[in-house]
Amino acid sequence: MDQSLIRNFSIIAHIDHGKSTLADRLLQITGTISERDMQEQVLDDMELERERGVTIKASAVRMTYTASDGQTYEMNLIDTPGHVDFSYEVSRALQACEGALLVVDSTQGIEAQTLANLYMALEQDLELIAIVNKTDLPAARPDDIAQDIEELIGLDALDVIQVSAKTGSNVEQVLEAIVRQVPPPKGDSSAPARALIFDSHYDSYKGVVAYVRVVDGVFHKDDMLRLMSSGADILPIELGIFSPNMRPVASLSAGEVGYIATGLKTVRECRVGDTVTLYHNGAAKPLPGYKQAKPMVFAGFYPSDNDDYDDLRDALEKLQLNDASLVYQPETSQALNFGFRVGFLGLFHMEIVQERLEREYDLDVLATAPSVEYQVLLRSGDVFTITSPAELPDESTIEEIREPWMVIEVFTPEDFIGPIMDLVTGKRGEYISMEYIDRTRVLLKYKIPLAELIVDFYDRLKSGTRGYASLDYHFDEYRAENLVKLDVLVNKQPVDALAMIVHEDVAYHKGQRLVSKLKRLIPRQLFEVPIQAAVGKHVISRANIKALRKDVLAKCYGGDVTRKKKLLEKQKKGKKRLKMIGNVEVPQEAFMAVLRLDDDD
C-alpha cells in the first residue's frame, strides 16, 4: 500500500461526549458496515462497554474512503479506552497514529480527561482536528466551545468542525479534514520490519491477537517473528486487518494497521507497547516508549463460597488473557480463607474486573477494601513493598512507611472551588495551582495520597459539584508519612481482612467511624459481640453488639406451613451469605465498610 494514501487517527473525547457515536457514523459513511449490521457503539463489543457507555479496550478498524480529490484512502481508526485508569493504553494507541480527532460536547465543553489525552496527543506530535459534537441539542453552544478550544490549544476556532454525530450532520467534513490534514505515515518501507503492539485480545483458536501498527518494513504471513521485550519468537497463525471483523491478509506494510494472530497462550509474552520485528534480519532497536503497566490499587478477592476458589482462579486466568495489566497472586486470610491479591490500574479497573467476574463467570466475589502499595523501610535498612495491611511487619522493626502520592487535575466550574478545596484538604491533599481555562471554568492541581484518592474521592467530587467536575491523575512520588496499622477485632479476634493502614492523625476518627459502622452492619448474634479498633495494643474505640433476644415466628396462619417454610428458607438463604469470622456471622458489606466511613448515616 502506498503510504501517501494511508491515514491513521484516533478519537479523543471525554466520556459521553460522543466518541463511539462519531465512530459509528464514520463506519456507516465509508460503507465499512452495512446498514443492516449497524448497531450503536459498533466498536464496543463487550456487554459492559455498551452498558456503561465507555470503551474499556482499544480496537482498530480499517475504512476505505474516496475523497473529493478523487483518491481512495485507507483510513485506520484506532479507538482508545475512555478512562484515566487506562491512560498507558491510550498513549500506545496514540503512538500508532499520525492524527487525532478531539471531540468535545458542545453542551459541556472541555473536561479533565479530554485535556489529559490531548496533552498526550501533542506530546506524540499528532495533527489535531477539533470537533464540537451534539450541535443538534438545544443547549449546544458550538461557537463558544470552539472559541474555548482556540484559546486553549491555539487552533483557529473557524477550523473547528461543528457536527452532530447523532444525526450525521457535517460528519463527511470530518473525513475530508482527515484526508487533508492528517499526514500520511512516514515509515521506511525498506528498513527491517518493526510494528508497535497497541492492544491485544485472546481468541481461543488463534491465541493472543496483537493489534499492531507497522512502522517500518513489511511483514509477510509466513515470516517468523520476534517480540523484542518479551523475547518470544513466533510463527504467526495469520496476519490481518479489522474491517471491522478480522480479515486475513498476505502482508502488512509500513504505515498500515492490522493484527497478528500470534498463537501465544498468554498475554504476558505479548504486552501492549512491545515491538514486533522479524526473526531473521530483525530490527536492532525496538520502538521507544515501552513500559510495563503497573498496578496501583490492590484488593483481596475471595469467593463468597469457599468451594468456588478454583473457579475464581480459572476466571482470573482467563480475564488476564485479555488484560495484561491485571495481576494477581494467591493470598490467604484468616477471616476469608483462600483467595487472591489482585492488582489494578485504578478503582475503575477494579470495578470492571469484579463486575466481569460476576457477570461473565457467574462468581460471587467478596472484595476487601482496596489498598495501595506501600514501601516499608525497616530498622535493618531493608526496604520492601506491601500491598495489604496484613503484610505489615511488627511495629518495632519499622523505621518508616512510605505511601504513593499522586498529582490530580480537577476541571470545575468556578462555583465549586470551595467544596473541592474542602474535599481535598480533608483528604490530606496539598494545593499546587489554579488556572482559568475558559471564562467560567478552572483547572485545579493538587498533590494527594493515592490511598485517599481511592476511598470515595471520585464519588464525593461528583456529588459535591453536581457532576460538573472531572478528574485526571498521575503518579508523583513515594513519601514517608506517619502511618499506622489500624486493627479491627471482632469478638476479641483481630480480623485481617478489616485491617487498614491510616495516617496517625486520623486513626482515632477512622477507628471510631469504622466501629460504629460495623456495629450497624453486623447483625446481632446469639451472644454479645465486642467490636474494637486498635493501633498496636492500644484500643481506640469499642462498641458492643448486644446479643439477639427474639427471633421467632409467632404463629402459623390456619395451618399454612408452606408460607412459614418460605419465610424460614429466605432467612436461611440470607444467613448463608454471611461469612463466619470465628463464630461471628459477618455480612459481606462489612468488608467494604472502610470505603464509606464518611457517609452521614
Binding site: 427474639k550 421467632v552 415466628l553 404463629k555 402459623c556 390456619g558 406451613v561 408452606t562 412459614k564 428458607e569
Partner: protein, 404 residues
Amino acid sequence: MLLLPGAAHTAAPSYHAPDVPLALYLHIPFCRTRCTYCAFSTYSGLSALIPPYMDALAHEIQLVGGGLKRPAHTVYFGGGTPSLIPAALLGHVLDRCRDMFVLPPGAEITLEANPGTVDDTYLRALRQIGVNRLSVGMQSANADELKLFGRCHRQDDVHSTVHTARRVGFTNINLDLIYGTPHQTLAAWQHSLDTALGLDPDHFSLYSLGIEENTPIQRQIALGTLAFPDPDLAADMYEWAASRLAAAGFEQYEISNWTRPGHASQHNLYYWRNLPYLGLGAGAHGYAARIRYANIAHPAAYIECIASQPVPLEFPCSAAADTINSVDRRQAMAETMLMGMRLTVEGVSLDAFRARFGHDLWSIYGAELDRLIASGLVEHTADARVRLTPRGRLLGNRVFIEFV
C-alpha cells in the same frame, strides 16, 4: 410434666398416617372490616356471598369426604370472622361434617369469635349446634391499641362476650392477645394481660405482632408514621407474660400458647404434631395423604370451582385446590421438626420420630441438633425428647432454619 390428651397419637402414625383421624379446618373468609395488621385470606364487603359460600363449603365437605366416613378428631371454624355467620348456616355445615366423617362424642369444635359480633342468643345457638370451644379475638385491653389495629370492638365487648359465653355453658374459652406493637409500653401490655386474666379464660394465645407485607400497619411503618416495634421490648413482654401466666396456674405448651390443665387446643396440636388435617373453604390449607394443598382464595372463585365439580376427586383435594404439592419423606421429617419444636414441653419425641419415619432422629439431624444443643437453644430431655430451652423459645427461627 404436662401430659396432653392425645399425645399417644404421636407414636402411632406412619409417615403418611392413613389411619390417624383427621382434623377439619373450615375457613370463613369474611370480615366486617379488615384489621390493619392482617395479611390473611379474608374479604370485607362480600356478605352477600355468605349463604352461597356456606352451601359451597358444605358441598366441598361432601366431595372430599367421598362417602368413606373417615374418622375426624376436631373441627375448627377459623377466619376471617366466623362469628359473622348465622348459627343456622354453621350448624348446617357441621351436620355435613358429621354425615361425611366420624366425629367422636365430645370432639373439640372451635369457633373464632370477634367480641361485639356475638350476643346471648347467638352463643346459645352455637352451643346448640355443638360448638364447644370459643376463641375470642380480644387482642388488647387498651383502646388506643384497638384503634391502631382497626378492631371494631371495645374492651366492654370482650367482657360481655366472655361472661355470656360462660353463662350459656362454654367451658373452654381462649383469648387471643397481641404484644410487641408499635409504641406499646411494657405497662400497657401488663394491663392487657392482667385484664384478660380477670376474665378467667381457660387458654391464652399470645402473639407477637408480625409486620406483614402490604398491610396498613406495614405501610405506616415504611412511611415512618409508626415506629417499628422494639424486639427487645417484645422479648421483655414475652418473658413477663410467661411468668405471670405460670403464677396464675397456666401451663405453656407451645411458643405462643398457654392452657389451664386439660384445655390445650386439640386442633392446633394437629398442626404442631404434623398430623393430617383437611383445609376446607376458600383460602384454606390442608395436609393429608402426603399432600399439602391450598384452596383458591377468593370466595366467588371458590364457589364457582365447587359448583363445577360433579364428583369427588382424589383425596384430599377438591376442585377448589389451587396449589398442590406432594410431601416426600425428607420434607415430612423436616416439617415434623419445625412444627414439633414449637411444642415447648412435648417437643419431638425420639421414639415417635423413629416409629413414624423408621429412622433414628440423630441419624437424620444429628449435626443440627448437636449444634443447637451446644448453643443452648435446644435440650435433649431425660425422657428422650428434643425441645426448645426457655431461651430457645424466643429464638425459635434460629432453630427452625436448621431443618428447612
